[in-house]
């Protein structure tokens, strides 16, 4: 019995050391979660531009209507692709200048047009039928990825416009993810 007791104690000690190192048995399963987010993106492009000087001259019976083409309108896309710059030179009242603007969903999720607004001092000298006149780009319009729509931005000056003056304006189109429309986007 004297020999058994130390052996037993040593065995207990050894087991205790093993237990301390290995601890209890356990096994892990893994769940890997990968979230690939999409993109909300819209782009503008210019489909065309012009004015109605010559057309009005023709309607007025001008012999050579082309000579009435004294003003000009240019529509160009900004470098970042988010703005269309409409530049009218030698403008005068009664002539309609326009840019045909294409709005495209270039992202991966649908969007809706939250707001369309034209601001700037040009609005004070525009006729009531100016602005986006085709009614295709309007609040609530929805575009799915790859879809696009064209509207016409038209500017006709009233007789209140001053000579040799520069008027400016900005057409803002705000789009947002479709599933949160019409929640206001952060300012």
């Amino acid at each position: 019995m004297r020999a058994v007791a130390p052996i037993f104690m040593l065995a207990v000690l050894a087991l205790g050391m093993i237990g301390g190192a290995a601890a209890l048995w356990w096994e892990r399963l893994n769940v890997n979660v990968n979230v690939h987010t999409g993109e909300l993106d819209a782009a503008l492009s210019v489909e065309g531009s012009g004015d109605n000087e010559v057309q009005l001259a023709q309607q007025a019976g001008e012999q050579n209507p082309e000579v009435k083409n004294v003003s000009d309108v240019q529509c160009t896309l900004s470098e970042d692709g988010n703005s269309v710059i409409m530049t009218i030179t030698n403008a005068y009242p009664g002539i309609t200048y326009y840019c045909d603007i294409n709005l495209e969903n270039t992202g991966t999720i649908p969007f809706k047009v939250y707001s369309v607004s034209l601001t700037g001092n040009v609005t004070s000298v525009m006729t009531s039928d100016s602005g986006l006149v085709n009614g295709t780009i309007v609040e609530g319009l929805q575009l799915h990825p790859g879809d696009s729509v064209v509207d016409r931005l038209s500017i006709t000056l009233t007789n209140d416009a001053q000579e040799n003056h520069q008027y400016t304006g900005i057409l803002n189109i705000v789009v947002e993810q479709w599933n949160e429309y019409p929640t206001a986007p952060p300012s």
Partner: protein, 235 residues
Amino acid sequence: MRNWTLALTALALVALMGGASALWYESLHTNIVATTGELDWEFRNNTVYTSDPCYTNTGQNVTWPDTNAFPPDYSPMIAPEEKDVGCTALNLLDTDGDGDYDTLNVTIENAYPYYATEVDFRVWNIGTIPLKIWRIHVILDNGTIYEFTQTNPDTVEHEGLYLDLNGDNKADVLMLWGDNFGNQLETGQNADISMFLVVLQQAPQNTSLHFMIGLDAVQWNEYSEAMGMTGGETG
């Protein structure tokens, strides 16, 4: 004198014989063979589901309306206009090559704010000893670990765990976990577990976000001891 010689000779022979045979004895032996069991559990094919699958079981693309979940209560609902924009793909992996699936990959494609998906899966005890579902570790790529057990399930079960996955101090994903913490699985038994994920408004666009959930089971008879342990990532 002759008699003395014979007597001594006989005594010597007896002594020699006695030295060879000694006393009578017998040994008894107990052979000990301890064949240990195995603690093992797994995911299985056809027992993992999502509310918005990308593919059928045969790998065909599937059109399925998205689920959205909006604050403050994040109740799941069919997305407005029943659109199918995002989807959730599930894949099972046997990362250690031992013949059973130990990893479930959940991949949400083309996610957007308030896209929500539910993932349901079944875990099976394929070992030889009972196990108890012990804990989960939610492990972010930056090393942050959130641990949940039977003692603190409320956050992950009811309130939701808000996860900042890209380090911008803004939560990107909300996770809820239907726990089963402490449930015991005998050999061959299974349990259902569910997970609910919501992509939050602050999630960045065009980005891959990742986190891992380690789901740990422990031998049934040391569950209470396990509850006293914290930390540790490998099993």
